[in-house]
Symmetry: D2
Subunit: 366 residues, 4 copies
């Protein structure tokens, strides 16, 4: 258990590097009887895939997933589900000179000092390539949650550099390469990104994930509270530097009278809490935001050192995302789904016999 | 493992409610040979204790910890360390009418629906009382980290409502009940808090923790990255709604050229990353910020329902913190120490034989 | 998680040494709503207690357990349950000279080399004293299993030295200090043990545990199979050197036609398998046997070395069990109960929605 | 974590069924810098392979393993190692009629009731086919243990039905299909097995594993004692019904004076304990024995029921092992290696700073 497994009951273990033969994942703990096939996973993988617009990296990977076990006659058996995605478009020659240099802002330096021996091609294990397997596993969780609880997990770009969507139209999110929910912002985003790509620099982004139809009662106080686990899962995504639940850092200046979400028989009157109280889901939408740093893979030179400690200038060429956040949305959705899935099973484990006389109120009035 | 254990190698398991006889903790995995006695833990417990100023809750708990095992002739043996803190100042009559009502913004509603049967007195297990045991365990971690790596974990109030310290004087932090590092801000804070307490409302806060002297190489990609584990640990603290590492949400609008921390033989030139790259510590200061929501235990009435779903108005009386953040600093320090301790051991487990020819650079130049 | 926690969903973490102030345990994951009080645990603790006959150690510990959390108004809340048992009858002076010697057959030598610094009094953490806390936790599991599944976990002495019970009368088991199920063997056992105690030597024993009313479907292939977990739990008891499920080592010479348990609509026709097939419970009685080694705490001298590697002769005086197996029965029952409890919850987690058209057959015909 | 991961620090997660496309495994926590290639794993896989003599199943699988990640330029990187073994010789038509019947002595009945939906072909996930992946992972552990500690893990057949080797010649073990260490017994074994195969029946076996060069100090009391973990790991192998450490069940009738292993500066004088005291390795050879039941896949009919509860007679045809024990030796070695590997890392984690003045004594005199 050296950090490559996520989840206690519904767990995913992944392996695979940027330039290796492929990515491998094993999903363990999926309940039996769920209808499942490759197409169920491919949809989200396609949303994440590089090479689908001029705004994302130009590495062209089909990211076709194969299910090697755990499914029989179209339904899960309860046995572990093995997933494989082949890498086809590795271009090692783009990275050759990186072998001895530590790219600033990347994991080269830390992997070198932690492990001594690292696969430097394309960032090796530290590359965002591994997130493809998280998305595949998250798709299984999404399906089960939808079918068993009516839960939907959806994300969108809530900010790119200085640009903020002003409206939230879910149906617009998948119609553009940014996962932007406000069609009116697209020209501004396109122009901004084109200028950025030309400049060789990069910018950060913020992504928001909303899970609706989450049953009340998920989360295991005190250390495995639902918000703590969401923070863990989301912060584990490459480039994430901040996580908020509900109002997040806006809480700092808020008053208690403004912040608390009042309850009525018809439902909660607001959702400043982001759907979690005392570390347990309330039935309100679970809302999380992540901050993604600007990628350090840019064409503008930076100062660094090499493995011998000698100063050097590093310019990364080859294929890069000028804004990592562009592809983060499906990954963030996947991580949220994995957390909710794990906790749905944990809640069943301990509290299946709990009966309360009066049902939970709706997450939101109306 | 129902959520009450934190850590894989250096782990702490806690139990105890607000109005029960006491709090119990077991720390497992502490290396043998560490000199340890109650006084080593009591210092941080005293910093956390309620009833030490007019600005915090008026419940008066001595929070005296006793070590019941794992220490022999003044040094740890490697066997699990049992800790007990007695509750002495529970006032159940203050909470009696809460039994049937769900206080808005509190965990009453979610605990009711998750467990069916809850200890409502003082919030039961959901009360921040349990954090005393985290602080005790964190003190053990702090000591070991200091002695073995020269690591120091220190926190301070970085914002209370609209008030921000403008200077960071570590020596001032423990001289005031706010853990404020800027003595010039104390009059403003005192006045603000007095007005707040009179009004019956509450406000949020932001706390920052800095760990210096962290060795390079801590963190277990990809899921147990150091930042992900810090996020988990910090978000597990009551009232936390956001976690940032380094520049956090300021990344969203930053450019790659501004953000990346360049390397020179004399050290890193900046620390936007907050001391973590690729999920692994760099040797720079590890910097984390948390956002604490305003407490919902306020004297201004709020709308809610009772266990039968009948609308009611809830006014909480009794003893409360008008700003929960006032006491969060030692708790946040403790959680950071627990994470670093766990990862120091995990790094030893897998990578003890790693040798690199050129040593790590200093975290910061000069 | 340094080895002092057992169980994944229903877990018990223990601490405490033979001569420390007391034993502490935290049981996490107990479902809420279970009626629980100290008396429920005290019964099994009394069965285990030292000093209750001339055949067991003469250390007189009341082993009174106190519940410090997790129970409110007589029922569990789902929050962790803290248990404390005070040590009252430590006699350190009996052990003083052991400090520098390694008693052959004891853990002194290994604890010394593993930890460097050990609490040598009474064996410290390696003493069987810690099993009291396992028995307390196991009692909670037993109660829940009985109430929710009608499961009973009962053990008995199946062999002491050369003496074997020839009949199995459950009602006789608790009527003698040996947990012997055959009253006719008691005079022989008494005489044997008196002679043994006089001689200063010791002997081994075999204990059998039978769990009836175990629902079909417990166990998590492939590594956490029910039999593997039972083996782990039982082998973790001090002095255990062998574990068998069902026919155990008698399988080696058995034929397949003899061994397999045939199925009929009225139930299984035999139980060679010990109630487990493919690592999963069948509904038959789960049957496990353990071999306990003769204790090395005997009054006959043995050769050893001291901490400086100098040869010495070791004679242990003070209070000892001439047959460790005499007290193992309640401990073995407790471990089996903990395993079944943990797996009952794991089965609920993943397979709560499984419906099969035709019900399971009875464990046994008639 | 639904039971398909073994190990806490050096962990292996496996997936794959008897008749699926292949077996997949991910080994996480392997220290970096270990030279590793497919050939290192293939050797033990070939020892385990079916179809290599007339005495084992006639399914012909090449069991060629491919390493898909975690190795770069011939050495491990510390990143997870993905392994794949393709299934090529599945013959589904041999198993068609089993779909609705529960073969007595097999896991069909329990998988049906646990999961509701099972892959019945060849036993699906319950088939011993999955053990191939354990052997591959175990080979990595064996290599690291040998190179870092001089540890060797070797097994042999210690009994087949009524036949016992009378001598232990390690060099003979791999020269026959039985892993029998006594060449003089081969004619008897061959004759016995030929008769058995003709009769259509099966018999059990006992296998012994000896680990030499085990450093002192491995094992994590109290629940993750080395013997408890060995018992868990070995009992998790299909068909295992008993595990012994050292003298095992022979302890029951032994006296303390006979059993305890005395210590001298030149080494231990005996090894009744099997190399483990107080759950921690002593430096003596670690000795474990397992009892394997006779397979229930025999050509002699047995009574059973089908999924509708209707009585039927079951005769299994197709390819079977008349003695499962014939192939267990490499699997048992692998499990022992996995346990020792995991514990070698756990010992490093907590006790790397332990220094004792006088070194450990040799495991054995001379």
């Amino acid at each position: 258990m050296s950090g490559n497994t996520y989840g206690k009951l519904f767990s995913v273990t992944t392996a695979g590097e940027s330039h290796g033969p492929g990515l491998v994942g094993i999903v363990d703990g999926c309940p039996p009887g769920l209808e499942l096939c490759e197409a169920d996973l491919q949809h989200d993988l396609d949303r994440r895939r590089p090479g689908t617009s001029r705004h994302t990296t130009q590495r062209r990977e089909p990211d076709e997933v194969r299910i090697l076990s755990g499914v029989f006659e179209g339904r899960t058996t309860g046995s572990p589900i093995a997933l494989v995605i082949d890498n086809v478009d590795q271009r090692s020659k783009d990275y050759g000179k990186i072998a001895a240099q530590f790219r600033p802002g990347h994991a080269d330096y830390t992997y070198h000092h932690k492990y001594g021996h690292r696969d430097y091609r394309g960032g090796g294990r530290s590359s965002a390539r591994e997130t493809a397997m998280r998305v595949a596993a998250g798709a299984i969780a999404k399906k089960w949650l939808r079918e068993h609880h009516g839960t939907e997990v959806r994300g969108y770009l809530s900010q790119l550099g200085p640009i903020r969507p002003e409206r939230l139209l879910w149906e617009a999110v998948d119609d553009n390469p940014f996962f932007c929910p406000d069609p009116d912002k697209l020209p501004e985003l396109e122009a901004f990104m084109d200028a950025l790509r030309k400049s060789g620099d990069s910018v950060g982004a913020k992504v928001t994930v909303v899970a609706s139809g989450v049953p009340v009662g998920l989360g295991e106080p005190i250390f495995d509270r639902l918000d703590a686990e969401l923070a863990h899962a989301l912060m584990s995504i490459n480039a994430v530097k901040g996580v908020e639940i509900g109002d997040g850092f806006a809480c700092v200046e808020a008053r208690g009278t403004e912040f608390r979400d009042e309850l009525t028989p018809a439902g909660f009157l607001s959702n400043h809490a982001g759907g979690i109280l005392g570390g347990i889901s309330t039935g309100q939408d679970v809302v999380a935001h992540i901050a993604l740093k600007p990628t350090s893979s840019i064409r503008l030179p930076g100062r660094s050192i090499d493995v011998d400690g000698v100063p050097c200038e590093v310019v990364t060429t080859g294929r890069h995302d000028p804004c990592v956040g562009i592809r983060a949305t499906p990954i963030a959705e996947a991580m949220v789904a994995l957390v909710l899935m794990d906790h749905a099973l944990r809640q069943r484990a301990q509290n299946a016999d709990v009966r309360v006389a009066t049902p939970a109120i709706p997450g939101r009035v109306g």
